[in-house]
């Protein structure tokens, strides 16, 4: 091992630490901090989910159960701190939530990891629905529709973090995110992590290299519950409230979408996915009512055309970059980008206009888009939107073909080099 490669990971970690420390200074609006905090939570949650889907081949529809229960436990602990019953600094709460996630992971995992494949997926769905339904019944723990809330400015103060300002919360989340991500990465590098991959690929064979596939699945499941619990606790600290929705199917679905959009095949894929998903759902929903529509379209495009997620798309470019052939792709990409933008503009005009018209509460048919005011009911807007849509779609088809051509070219060049 050369010195460089030995210290590369360390440098990466240090770089991340510095970046994380600087971020709140670069973006210091309250809104940016809110967003960053949620990104951090999403990243831990998505990474923990990928321990199941990407690494162990377990498709779970109920991952929010561990997230949510971790969060509830953290909040109850927080209230105990407030009441003076628990002498724990608030920044350490995720340990409590993580342990709860672990415990529930152990109990439910013990039952569900005896199966894999579709049956496992269905059991996870069943547990998710069950826990969600129970949240209505065990009100003492879940607090009913109101949920449980608490005050994070209590208990012993750690490192000057009073936990009042958003920024304190940001540092806590960033630290936990870094530690959890690191730990989860290291787990992939352990014998258990490797065997989880093996179980994903071929459980039958695993039994003949000495492992009980159920045990491997079970351990991964429990550990992933632990990290989901940490994510849930961070959520609890950030919002100081948690409701039954946090154990519900929609949170489970969103973590699935995060992981899948980012790509389950690479460790950092879910990180990317969490960023994209959180940004789309928070930023977009602030600007447009149609955000779910866009999210749905985006998700479908990824599933249909990029089954390895965004990180999969990036990864196919790695060899191209290394072969210094990227410049051969860029012109075609630029073209596709331009035509794609035309298509997008057309689509946005059409979608926003029809939303505007179909929504009750719209005062007039006048609306503004990107600072331009226009009448959503006039033929001109529609002609423009549909026109751009059609032209964009047509051109995009052509440019995609040229992207294909550029790729073919790059491939033959790379093939030539590999042979040489």
């Amino acid at each position: 091992m050369t010195l460089g490669s030995r210290f590369a990971p360390l440098a990466l970690v240090l770089g991340t630490v510095v970046l994380l420390a600087l971020l709140p200074h670069m973006f210091d609006s309250r809104y940016a901090l809110t967003l960053l905090n949620q990104l951090g939570i999403g990243i831990v949650f998505a990474l923990s989910y990928n321990m199941l889907l990407g690494q162990s081949g377990l498709l779970s529809f109920g991952h929010a159960v561990y997230f949510g229960l971790g969060g509830f436990t953290a909040l109850h602990a927080l209230n105990a701190i407030t009441d003076g019953d628990l002498p724990l600094p608030v920044p350490l709460l995720p340990i409590v939530g993580g342990l709860m996630g672990l415990a529930v992971g152990i109990i439910l995992g013990w039952v569900s990891t005896r199966r894999s494949g579709t049956i496992f997926a269905m059991i996870s769905l069943g547990f998710a629905e069950l826990v969600a339904a129970c949240s209505n019944i065990i009100r003492g723990y879940f607090g009913g529709e109101e949920g449980i809330s608490g005050d994070r400015m209590s208990g012993p103060v750690l490192f000057d973090l009073t936990m009042g300002p958003q920024r304190d919360v940001y540092y806590v989340i960033a630290a936990w995110m870094l530690v959890s991500a690191l730990l989860m990465y290291l787990i992939t590098q352990t014998p258990l992590g490797r065997m989880a991959n093996a179980v994903r690929d071929n459980p039958q064979r695993v039994a003949f290299v000495g492992y009980n596939p159920q045990t491997v699945r079970f351990l991964m499941f429990a550990l992933s519950g632990f990290f989901a619990g940490i994510a849930g606790s961070l959520f609890a600290i950030n919002f100081e409230i948690i409701t039954a929705q946090a154990v519900g199917i929609e949170y489970s679905a969103s973590v699935l979408m995060m992981a899948y959009i980012g790509g389950t095949g690479y460790f950092l894929g879910p990180v990317l996915g969490a960023i994209i998903y959180t940004a789309l759902s928070i930023v977009l929903s602030a600007y447009t009512e149609a955000w779910m529509f866009y999210l749905g379209v985006f998700f479908i495009i990824v599933v249909v055309y990029a089954p390895n997620g965004v990180s999969g798309i990036l990864a196919v470019h790695e060899p191209v970059l290394r072969a210094r052939l990227m410049h051969r792709l860029l012109p075609a990409y630029a073209l596709a980008f331009v035509t794609g933008a035309i298509l997008l503009i057309g689509a946005v005009v059409v979608i926003e206009s029809s939303y505007h018209l179909s929504q009750p509460g719209a005062l007039t048919t006048t609306m503004s888009l990107g600072g331009i005011e226009y009448d959503a009911d006039a033929w001109r807007a529609w002609a423009f939107g549909l026109g751009a849509l059609a032209v964009g779609a047509f051109l995009l088809r052509e440019t995609i073909r040229s992207v294909g051509g550029a790729w073919a070219d790059v491939r033959t060049r790379m093939g030539g080099e590999a042979a040489a």
């Binding site: 290291l186 787990i187 590098q189 352990t190 014998p191 258990l192 992590g193 490797r194 065997m195 991959n197 093996a198 994903r200 690929d201 071929n202 039958q204 064979r205 695993v206 039994a207 003949f208 290299v209 000495g210 492992y211 009980n212 596939p213 045990t215 491997v216 351990l219 550990l223």
Partner: protein, 251 residues
């Protein structure tokens, strides 16, 4: 050779529903020998392997590994007692590299078990063993290729590699040369011979040249019964075997 047989089957029976596939098979595989099982298609050879390796549970009878009762034990526990098998249809970890495939077979035997606190890149012994095995398999050049991308013969070789890597001293191979060409078969025979030095080997094989080249003893399975066991030459000359299996002409 020691007195206790490596594997001993006593009156093993296996039925699927009402059909009895294995009907009272009794067989001793001696320690350190290379033992081939032949028999017509559907005689139950693969089923017998499944029974020994724990993949299936016998309906009745007793199976021993070095004198220890392993009837009905889970596959991974049997494996930990030192028995390893290959599959008639290749079963690798397709999405992992060749070397990682081999390493997977090493973690448990080298004592790392379900560890999630030790980092693989630091496990020197695993790395050395894996590289050594790749060398012997002739796959060093394909070390970092994904297993799913290997050619058929290479996959078969890796299949054998996965089977022996863990250091089990009883090896079961199910048709190791199926689908290989003559020259590949010859290479595979050499490989198997080298890899199973000082070990007990049981294999199912249709290719008689392989059987007669490799095996110390041969058993013939017919309708789920072991009808004969003997040296290759004894088997070759047995009338019963000829009729039942080899047909008129002997390969």
């Amino acid at each position: 050779m020691s007195a206790t047989p490596a594997i001993s089957l006593q009156d093993v029976e296996k039925s699927f529903g009402s059909t009895r596939i294995i009907q009272g098979a009794t067989l001793d595989v001696l320690d350190g020998e290379r033992h081939a099982i032949i028999g017509p298609n559907g005689a139950g050879k693969s089923t017998l392997f499944h029974l020994i390796s724990g993949h299936l549970v016998p309906t009745s009878g007793r199976i021993e590994l070095r004198g220890r009762d392993i009837t009905g034990m889970a596959p991974y526990r049997i494996n930990r007692l030192g028995l390893s098998r290959s599959f008639q249809i290749t079963t690798l970890f397709h999405r992992m590299s060749v070397v990682e495939n081999i390493r997977c077979a090493l973690y448990y035997p080298l004592g790392y078990r379900y560890s999630f606190w030790r980092l693989c890149p630091r496990l020197k012994d695993v790395h050395e063993r894996a590289d050594e095995i790749l060398e012997r398999l002739g796959l060093t050049g394909r070390r970092d290729v994904m297993a799913g991308m290997l050619s058929y013969a290479e996959q078969r070789a890796l299949e054998i590699g996965l089977t022996v890597a863990g250091g089990a001293d009883v090896i079961l191979l199910d048709e190791p040369t199926a689908g290989m060409s003559r020259s590949e078969t010859a290479r595979a025979v050499d490989l198997i011979r080298a890899l199973t030095e000082n070990k007990t080997l049981v294999m199912v094989e249709h290719d008689m040249s392989v059987v007669f080249e490799l095996a110390d003893r041969v058993s013939v399975l017919l309708y789920g019964e072991v009808i004969a066991t003997g040296t290759p030459n004894e088997i070759k000359s047995s009338r019963q075997v000829q009729e039942a299996y080899l047909g008129v002409e002997v390969a």
